[in-house]
């Protein structure tokens, strides 16, 4: 398959029709921002509606995805891993082979084209693991736009290679020391910057969260993952997968994989949150398993919060999953029961990281290592003719220092 598949229009009763006019997925989503930002959020919605009806926009994006990112990304039958687990046939959707090493670039290219259409001259972004920051810095270099990336001080410490990459690409990395110095705090600071610079600045959000239309447009730009995988698996196996699995922080790679399968009831969809030290340890990032609905960062969704509605700090070994919320469409799919949401601990992710590296010769990022940890739990009990599709959404080069530390190795 060399062509990038175009998204298929959804039928009337489809689960793919959200969000509604108010940017809601059921009770979730919406536009909970200060009035200063509201006109801007409405402008963005109009600009996106206009862009997605414009064939020239799609053509330019497809060209970039093909020649700059290297799409379609391969579908890999992980046969040694499948044999080692002794059950289902496991396929990896290899978005870690994209330019910049993760799925984040799919969304960044879509949004930078939007920013250019809107006449914005400065880009800001938040980042956790640094993958979105690197992807944003990359597209800003490509389009010649100045870029400021907000990143928590804890994350700067544990993702040093990505910090350096961003700086090499010409971005300013602005450290955020508030709170635990992680993704939530970076997002607060990016929103403050945006409010202060609304007229010239485009906020390039990295996940399927934030005020409408961000959850929708990030999902649309990431759905290329699932569209491709569906076509590739049809070619390889002549059928749909039995199970599709992806890790979830905010949930952009998972939404990109799941969305094209939402109307295929035979496909079990499983999202894997970061349990951290354990779901009931108090050190977790599993917003659906341990949170309840609330409003943060522009949308209503499941959040880790205390009895007074104060937001709690998340914990995960993976900086990319270390966030106390989740995209609103996931909250809706959770309540509907269409997607199952489970969790994997830091330890389970580390074990899966090593398993993947040794059986397949692929060093995964710690984020998809969480997805793989769940695959390792369910694959052995499945028949050998069953198919699991997993999104290997990022490569692990950035994580080798963290992993070394946990394995007691000094580099």
């Amino acid at each position: 398959m060399n062509e990038i598949p175009r998204p298929q229009p959804a039928p009337p009763n489809s689960l793919r029709n959200g969000p509604d006019q108010r940017g809601r997925f059921g009770a979730f989503g919406g536009r909970f921002v200060a009035e200063t930002l509201m006109p801007l959020v409405l402008d963005l919605e109009a600009a996106y509606e206009n862009a997605r009806r414009d064939p020239a926009f799609r053509t330019e994006l497809d060209d970039l995805l093909t020649h700059y990112v290297g799409r379609p990304s391969p579908l890999w039958h992980a046969s040694r891993l499948s044999a080692a687990l002794g059950g289902a046939r496991i396929y990896f959707k290899r978005d870690e082979l994209n330019h910049t090493g993760a799925h984040k670039i799919n969304n960044c290219l879509g949004q930078i084209l939007l920013a250019r259409r809107m006449g914005k001259t400065r880009i800001i972004a938040e980042t956790g693991a640094g993958q979105h920051g690197v992807a944003t810095a990359t597209v800003c270099a490509l389009f010649g736009l100045p870029c400021t990336v907000y990143m928590g001080t804890t994350d700067i410490e544990r993702q040093k290679p990505n910090v350096f990459r961003m700086k090499l690409l010409g971005a300013e990395v602005s450290p955020v020391s508030a709170g635990a110095g992680t993704l939530k705090d970076a997002m607060n600071e990016a929103l403050r910057d945006w409010v202060a610079n609304v007229r010239n600045t485009y906020y390039l959000i990295g996940t399927v969260a934030g005020p409408h239309p961000y959850p929708m447009l990030v999902r649309d730009f990431q759905s290329v993952i699932g569209e491709e995988a569906k076509a590739q698996l049809r070619q390889a196996e002549g059928r749909l997968p039995d199970v599709a699995v992806a890790c979830i922080g905010g949930g952009s790679n998972a939404m990109g994989l799941f969305h094209p399968f939402l109307d295929d009831p035979s496909v079990r969809l499983i999202g894997v949150e970061a349990a951290g030290k354990g779901l009931d340890s108090g050190l977790t990032a599993a917003s659906l398993s341990r949170g309840r609905p609330g409003v943060l960062h522009g949308n209503r969704t499941y959040l880790l919060q205390d009895d007074e509605g104060q937001i709690q700090e998340a914990h995960s070994i993976s900086a990319g999953l270390d966030y106390p919320g989740i995209g609103p469409e996931h909250s809706w799919l959770h309540d509907l029961g269409r997607v199952e949401y489970v969790a994997a601990t830091d330890e389970e992710a580390l074990a899966a990281f090593q398993l993947c590296t040794r059986t397949e010769g692929i060093i995964p990022a710690l984020e998809p290592a969480h997805a793989l940890a769940h695959v390792a739990k369910i694959a052995p009990a499945m028949q050998k003719d069953r198919i699991i599709l997993m999104n290997l959404c990022g490569r692990g080069d950035k994580d080798i220092f963290t992993v070394a530390e946990h394995l007691g190795v000094t580099l």
């Binding site: 919406g30 909970f32 202060a196 609304v198 960062h297 509605g309």
Partner: protein, 276 residues
């Protein structure tokens, strides 16, 4: 007539603008915060805004962020803020009190029980930063039922086409965010206010308060020569913060220093139109 409407009517008769000081509930602790609140009317506060601390105050600059952190460490909560207002009301039945904060603690409390308890505690109005007109139906019906004013923010980015939508359903007064930015940073110029406040008046009969970036007595006087009220927050909280010991605990002079600032602002605001 609500306390807010009554106060603005009285000020109009007196021919002067209003001073609205803002302090964060429980900053730096419950006792000091309650003492400040109790002292504000005598120091010259015409209306009072009380900030409800939230872990993620996205519209606030470093000074109010730090106030929120001190308050949360001291055990602040929405429930605690309501209790403070109840205590304040036993001594002061007249000065309007407005709660300003973020939506999530209200959702967690439950919008309906919150509106009921806020009204019963003596709160007069609500400013919810991350609840724009488009999402207002989550709270507005309950606020209306219990007689609480919904005070909407209007920003420099709110154009003439959008203004009617924002003003529809607002009551009490209109809060003009004078800059595009977070609290306690930039200040609007007199020229900007002179252009924007009359623009707003074409759309509403409600009194207009100006906040964000109003720091000094002179700035507050300029604001009330154009608008109906000046909200001063970060500069008062900076005085409060500077009066604490290195662990963030109050010293004997803390309350007096903050109230002295309020008195200086009030003096300037009261003299503004006479001087003009």
């Amino acid at each position: 007539m609500s306390r807010i409407a009554a106060r603005f009517a009285a000020l109009r008769r007196a021919g002067r603008g209003a001073l609205i000081p803002f302090l964060e509930a429980f900053d730096p602790d419950r006792e000091t915060s309650a003492a400040l609140l109790a002292g504000l009317p005598a120091a010259g506060a015409d209306l009072i805004e009380i900030g409800v601390p939230f872990t993620d105050p996205m519209a606030d600059g470093p000074i109010i962020q730090a106030a929120g952190r001190r308050a949360l460490r001291a055990g602040a909560s929405l429930r605690g803020a309501l209790a403070m207002v109840r205590q304040f009301r036993t001594a002061d039945p007249e000065t309007p009190v407005i709660l300003m904060g973020y939506l999530n603690p209200i959702l967690s409390y439950g919008p309906e029980p919150f509106a009921r308890d806020a009204a019963a505690s003596g709160v007069d109005g609500l400013i919810v930063v991350d609840l724009p007109a488009e999402e207002s139906d989550l709270l507005a019906p309950f606020a209306t039922r219990f007689g609480l004013d919904i005070i909407r923010l209007v920003a420099p980015t709110t154009d003439d086409q959008r203004l009617p939508k924002v003003l529809e359903g607002s009551s009490g007064f209109v809060y003009y965010v004078s800059i595009t930015g977070i609290t306690g940073t930039k200040s609007a110029t007199v020229a900007e206010l002179s252009a924007n406040i009359p623009r707003l008046r074409r759309f509403t009969q409600l009194p207009i308060a100006v906040g964000f970036g109003v720091k000094t007595p002179a700035q507050a006087a300029e604001v009330v020569s154009i608008a109906d009220a000046a909200v001063v927050a970060s500069s008062l909280i900076a005085t409060l913060a500077a009066s604490l010991d290195e662990k963030g605990h109050p010293l004997p002079g803390t309350v007096a220093r903050v109230l002295a600032d309020v008195a200086a602002l009030a003096h300037s605001v009261r003299g503004a139109r006479a001087a003009a």
